[in-house]
């Protein structure tokens, strides 16, 4: 008997207040989706700018930031966690354990899971954000926190999801609630249709370049418009994932039919009827049309250093990484494989590391023959984990080396030596570049 691939169907959380509750709370003023989510959780109208103690529907901890959160929980006098069923535990940053301290952290967390009756996905499933999404642990209208800055990924499911530190998580583990400053929202209306081999990652890189690394600090980014409506869940996750790269507290995509199809396969949800009112008050409204958008590349050493691929085409690279919570899904691997097409091999001068974001995505890619294609072309395909993304485990760069990565951060030293350089791109651009050993426009392959 193999492992059960179907996601557990979780009960609707007790403190999830359905939209009809809004009437009872007398909420009649227009509000953003984020204000509505907090109002629903609080049972009264809540406005952006207010600081509230709000209950959380789910809390995620992983192997890097989890041990500290657990220690803090005990230091706070915690004995039993608020609700073991709402805690998501897994290991992804340093798996399989790459050092004795990492192995010790895993043991420490396993013990905690056992003691508290928490289901531990351990290192079986993959990268935290992918796992939370594919197991249906984040749903429209929920508040989800995680000790990882890219927790904002679950905004793709219509949840208010945000990254917190370990001390805040210790508090959450004990009380099931946390102080939040309800953020103002920036509305992003994105229209148009992507050109060939241009997609969600190019859009979000472009937005990071336009809005800047701190352009949305303390705010929520609400993604709307035709381009978002047309986007599949994988693309939406790529967008929400990188909201933090503009300083945002959350990125959120109002739930629609695509969200519903994705979530209902995984669990039951009370209602999908959740959107900002047309006259809601935003900090800012920004409009974009992506029809002419070229493939984008973030150049060292900041995520908002973004240019058209044509400006950096020809830059020699030593390593290509296709994976991470940003771009390690089946759709991303398929996009890369499509670009590789009938080509025999990646350039000899480049190391290609491919890491599916989860076991489920790995199996999909395996069954579709994508993994075979990558291996044939010369890639190292690794088991689901964060891999080189944060320079904690393997795949590190030497001084002077250059990497092109489909992940979300190119900070100096992020993937190894502080004297190395990291460029960020879409899977299509990464695959095209792997074929030539230099940054390459995927539209020309």
């Amino acid at each position: 008997m193999g492992l059960d691939l179907t996601a557990p169907s979780l009960p609707v959380p007790a403190n999830y207040i359905r939209p009809e509750h809004l009437q009872k709370t007398g909420y009649s003023m227009s509000a953003t989706i984020v204000e509505k989510i907090f109002s629903q959780h609080c049972g009264r109208p809540v406005r952006a700018g207010e600081v509230v103690m709000a209950p959380v529907d789910a809390a995620m901890i992983h192997d890097i930031t989890g041990p500290l959160a657990i220690r803090v929980f005990y230091e706070m006098g915690g004995e039993r966690v608020f609700d073991p069923e709402r805690i998501i535990m897994l290991f992804d940053h340093q798996v399989p354990a790459d050092s004795i301290p990492a192995a010790e952290n895993h043991v420490f967390m396993r013990r905690f899971a056992e003691e508290q009756g928490i289901h531990n996905y351990d290192m079986r499933e993959g990268v935290c954000h992918q796992v939370v999404m594919e197991k249906g642990r984040a749903a429209p209208g929920e508040i989800v926190v995680g000790t990882d800055s890219h927790t904002c990924t679950y905004g793709a499911a219509g949840a208010f999801a945000t990254g917190i530190g370990s001390t805040d998580m210790g508090f959450v583990l004990k009380f099931g609630a946390l102080y939040f400053r309800v953020p103002e929202s920036i509305l992003l209306e994105i229209d148009g249709k992507f050109g060939q081999r241009v997609g969600a990652k190019d859009l979000i890189l472009y937005l990071a370049g336009d809005i800047g690394a701190d352009g949305a600090t303390y705010m929520a980014l609400e993604f709307t418009g035709r381009a978002i409506r047309d986007m599949d869940m994988a693309g939406r996750m790529t967008c929400a994932n990188m909201a933090i790269e503009m300083g945002a507290k959350a990125g959120i995509i109002p739930p629609d039919a695509t969200t519903r199809d994705y979530i209902t396969e995984r669990r039951e949800v009370g209602s999908y009827d959740l959107a900002s009112d047309p006259d809601a008050s935003y900090r800012e409204r920004r409009h974009y049309d992506i029809t002419e958008l070229a493939p984008q590349v973030a150049v060292p050493h900041n995520v908002d250093n973004v240019v058209d691929v044509t400006e950096v085409a020809g830059t020699k690279i030593d390593q290509v990484f296709i994976g991470s919570c940003t771009n390690g899904r089946y759709e991303d691997l398929a996009e890369a494989a499509e670009v590789i097409g009938a080509a025999d091999r990646f350039a000899d001068s480049v190391r290609v590391i491919v890491i599916p974001a989860s076991r489920t995505e790995y199996l999909k890619a395996l069954r579709a023959g994508l993994i075979e294609r990558f291996v044939e072309a010369g890639a190292l395909v690794e088991a689901p984990c964060c891999g080189p993304c944060m320079g904690g485990a393997f795949g590190l760069l030497a001084p002077g080396e250059v990497s092109l990565s489909t992940s979300n951060r190119n900070f100096r030293g992020r993937q190894g030596s502080t004297l190395a350089s990291v460029y960020l791109s879409s899977p299509a651009t990464a695959a095209a570049s792997a074929l030539y050993g230099e940054i390459t426009d995927p539209r020309e392959v």
Binding site: H41, C42, G43, R44, V46, E50, V51, V52, M53, A54, I64, T65, P67, L68, V72, E75, M76, G77, H93, Q94, S99, P101, A102, E104, N105, T147, D148, S149, G163, I164, G165, S166, T167, D168, G170, F171, K174, F175, A177, Y179, R181, A213, D214, T217, Y218, I244, G247, K249, M390, G391, G392, L396, R409, F411, R412, G413, R414, S417, T418, L419
Partner: protein
């Protein structure tokens, strides 16, 4: 106190690189603070020194190892034009005081400054640069001695009260 001056967008990977995240002891983390980015920092920093930076200090990863590494190095105050949100909270929670001062351009590396939190200013070369007040609910946490101490004395939380 001596100022260690940094620019904009100092990320938490720069403060403490990913390969040291299995360490949780502030004193041990302090040995690697700014490793590869500013190697002399860990060697020369002294108790009470102040980190001064531009915009968006502490952006990126949510790792609490970043404020802990600074605390382990003896830094108790970071002054910046603005902070990334998660770092700001982590700092307050762990007892590192993040102060927002729009005029950090007027402060140079190696200068000696004094901070008057009650008075709401930084004094540098006889000049007073205003700092923004710490938000109320954050102040309560700082006054309690950090979030751990605050939470230890708490039996339960009142959901949806205002902070």
């Amino acid at each position: 106190m001596r100022v260690w001056k940094f620019g904009d967008d100092v990320d938490t990977d720069a403060i403490i690189p990913g390969r040291f995240l299995t360490i949780y002891d502030p004193a041990e983390l302090a040995k690697h603070v700014f490793e590869g980015t500013r190697d002399e920092f860990a060697v020369e920093v002294r108790e009470g020194d102040i980190v001064v930076a531009g915009r968006n200090f502490g952006c990126g990863s949510s790792r609490e190892h970043a404020p802990l590494a600074l605390l382990g190095a003896g830094v108790k105050i970071v002054v910046a034009k603005s902070f990334a949100r998660i770092f700001y909270r982590n700092a307050i929670n762990t007892g590192l005081l993040p102060l927002v001062c729009p005029e950090t351009d007027a402060i140079q590396d190696g200068e000696v400054i004094s901070v008057d939190i009650e008075g709401g200013y930084i004094e540098v070369n006889g000049r007073r640069l205003p700092i923004e007040p710490v938000p109320d609910f954050m102040k309560r946490i700082v006054e309690a001695g950090g979030l751990v101490a605050y939470a230890r004395n708490l039996d339960g939380v009142e959901i949806c009260n205002t902070g």
